[in-house]
């Protein structure tokens, strides 16, 4: 069996940034596995601009952003395999993959970085009533058809869901000559970024109907139309608000789910809030030596933050390899064992949380989502591995105006920031300082919450 120090599953923005960062730490034995025919991941089909403002202080298109990292990977001579699909990952970090040139092969990795990204919620996840005619696509599929393959999925379009890809595709389809009739959003607020509502909908006079959903699909062979209706506070359609739209295409932009089939095979514990792995401050999962970053961990709004997070995961993976390489080979054999401090499975998660007080002595703190906060990444902090600061990313449950985000350890406040508006569609962050946390110890939890002022 081949052996590599770090195997990175996925050659999109997360995998690329993780590889570069690990290599910058001096790690030479890295391999990136990518299932598409080229590196860059979903950025290759995101031809619109607006990427890279945080990282490069300029507005790049998706392919340009990807190229910055791909060129660096090439320059540093980091090995990668394209057209290579990972089929399995074991808790012992044996990666099973297949490619047209190599067939099926296995690699024993010392550390694995999960960077598989996410997947779109399909029609099946929505329980839309009606026949299953052709013409219903996820927005990302349509994006690939139009931007990469140069084919138009249809001419008269209704979009369900106001996620960013849906908004981007409303503009893209319009530019390509389609008539986008309406974007319907189930929630009373948009799931996309404000700038996208302005430049993708308002610029082209496309109406956005909040608190609306599709209640009927018309057509048998090909879609002929949909019926929209308003929904009440519980998301139930309000009678007599139905409106019919004729269309040949329905695009779905109704959420993204981290793609964790491989993680599950490896026994990595997943969070029910993010659908991604539970990780600590080092982006290490519940399985020793398996790290996660990017959209496989939690769905991001901005690629810049994916790159930043992945660079941290890459650095930590390189450190892990350095540390475990120093150990005797006998000891290293055991590194595939599950960690004692993180739950082995989702079921063990609750049991683990129940045993929390025991962890006080070991310097492990749980990072908990408090009032108004849906989840945090990371959700565990090992004090011994914390740097000067720790950045906690989170999403709010609903829209909050003129509110504060606070972070507490025990009774002590570590962070407070006031913002005009918090929306679930935009990832937030809070930074705590080691110094402040030390003053709050002993504590067994760190809680992040929204306080309405």
């Amino acid at each position: 069996m081949k052996q590599h120090a770090i195997v990175i599953i996925g050659g999109g923005p997360a995998g690329l940034a993780a590889a570069i960062s690990a290599a910058e730490q001096g790690e030479k034995d890295i391999l990136i596995l990518e299932r598409d025919r080229e590196l860059g991941g979903i950025l290759n089909q995101c031809i619109h601009n607006g990427f890279g403002l945080h990282t490069f202080q300029e507005e790049l298109t998706g392919p340009e952003y990807a190229a910055r990292y791909i060129e660096k990977v090439e320059r540093m001579g980091i090995p990668y395999l394209t057209d290579t699909m990972v089929l399995d990952l074991s808790s012992e970090k044996v990666v099973t993959a297949v490619s047209p040139t190599e067939g099926i092969f296995q690699i024993q990795a010392q550390a694995v970085i999960l960077a598989m990204g996410c997947r779109e919620r399909p029609r099946g996840a929505l329980n839309l009533p009606g026949y299953r005619p052709a013409g219903i696509y996820t927005a990302g599929t349509a994006q690939r058809l139009v931007n990469v393959e140069g084919r138009m999925p249809g001419r008269e379009v209704v979009i369900l869901g106001s996620g960013d890809i849906g908004l981007i595709m409303a503009r893209r389809m319009t530019l390509e000559g389609a008539k986008v009739k309406v974007v319907a959003e189930l929630m009373p607020y948009s799931g996309g970024l404000k700038r996208n509502i302005v430049q993708c909908l308002e610029d082209f006079g496309i109406p956005l109907k909040l608190s609306h959903t599709v209640v009927a699909i018309h057509g048998k062979e090909r879609l002929t139309g949909v019926t929209l209706a308003q929904v009440d506070h519980d998301g139930r359609p309000v009678p007599r608000t139905e409106e019919e739209y004729s269309c040949d295409t329905l695009l779905l932009s109704v959420g993204l789910i981290p793609e964790n089939e491989l993680s599950k095979n490896a026994g990595v514990a997943l969070s029910s809030a993010t659908s991604g792995p539970v990780v600590d401050e080092s982006f290490q999962t519940s399985v020793n030596g398996i790290f996660a970053c990017g959209n496989v961990l939690h769905v991001h709004d901005l690629v810049d933050f994916v790159s930043e997070e992945a660079a941290n995961a890459g650095r930590r993976a390189a450190e892990y390899v350095r540390e475990t390489s120093g150990e005797s080979s006998e000891k290293r054999m055991k590194c595939g064992e599950s960690r004692k401090d993180l739950p082995e499975s989702q079921a063990a998660c609750e049991e683990w949380t129940a045993k929390m007080p025991e962890k006080e002595v070991s310097g492990i703190l749980d990072i908990l989502p408090g009032d108004g906060v849906r989840y945090t990444v990371p959700s565990v902090l090992h004090l011994a591995q914390m740097g000067e600061t720790l950045k906690i990313r989170f999403r709010v449950r609903k829209e909050y105006k003129n509110s504060c985000v606070t972070v507490h350890a025990g009774d002590r406040q570590l962070f407070r920031r006031r913002k005009q508006i918090f929306v679930p569609g935009e990832m937030e962050e809070a930074v705590i300082r080691r110094e402040d946390l030390n003053a709050a110890l002993p504590a067994d939890t760190i809680t992040i919450r929204i306080e309405e002022v």
Binding site: N49, L53, L193, Q199, D203
Partner: protein, 133 residues
């Protein structure tokens, strides 16, 4: 005095800007949190512009399409003219990212450049086609 409320598109922050207009003249701009926001506010009420991104067809390339963008902003009301002109463009592989695809698009004085490289498709030796027979 006319008051316009805008959402800045300079970055994903989406700051809400308030622009007060005295006829054609901008009396005041508030709500921006960076230089870019102020510039956007001024431009958006006087002569709104956008970067246009689309794709053009590639001949003999490893990809069907190559993504392109206007090198600078073009007037908002010229977006569809740019797209229409670019529909007629076909480019021969290889394409290098950054190379001009069309000069002075729609009379805007702005060039359109490729944002991705596309290699030449190597000739296949008929293995796939004969198998399919």
């Amino acid at each position: 005095m006319e008051k316009k409320i805008l959402t800045c598109i300079g970055c994903p922050m989406g700051c809400q800007l308030t622009v007060e207009l005295d006829g054609e003249q901008i009396a005041s701009i508030s709500g921006y949190t960076c230089k870019r926001g102020k510039i956007y506010g001024e431009k958006e009420v006087t002569h709104p512009t956008r970067i246009v991104t689309t794709t053009v067809r590639v001949v003999h390339g490893t990809a069907q399409m190559v993504p392109v963008k206007t090198k600078e902003d073009v007037p908002k009301d010229k977006i569809f003219d740019c797209i229409r002109e670019l529909k007629e463009v076909e480019i021969e592989a290889p394409v290098r990212a950054g190379e001009p695809v069309l000069k002075n698009v729609a009379g805007t004085g702005v060039d359109v450049i490729a944002v991705k490289s596309v290699e030449i498709q190597q000739m296949e030796h008929g293995i796939h086609s004969s198998r399919n027979l």
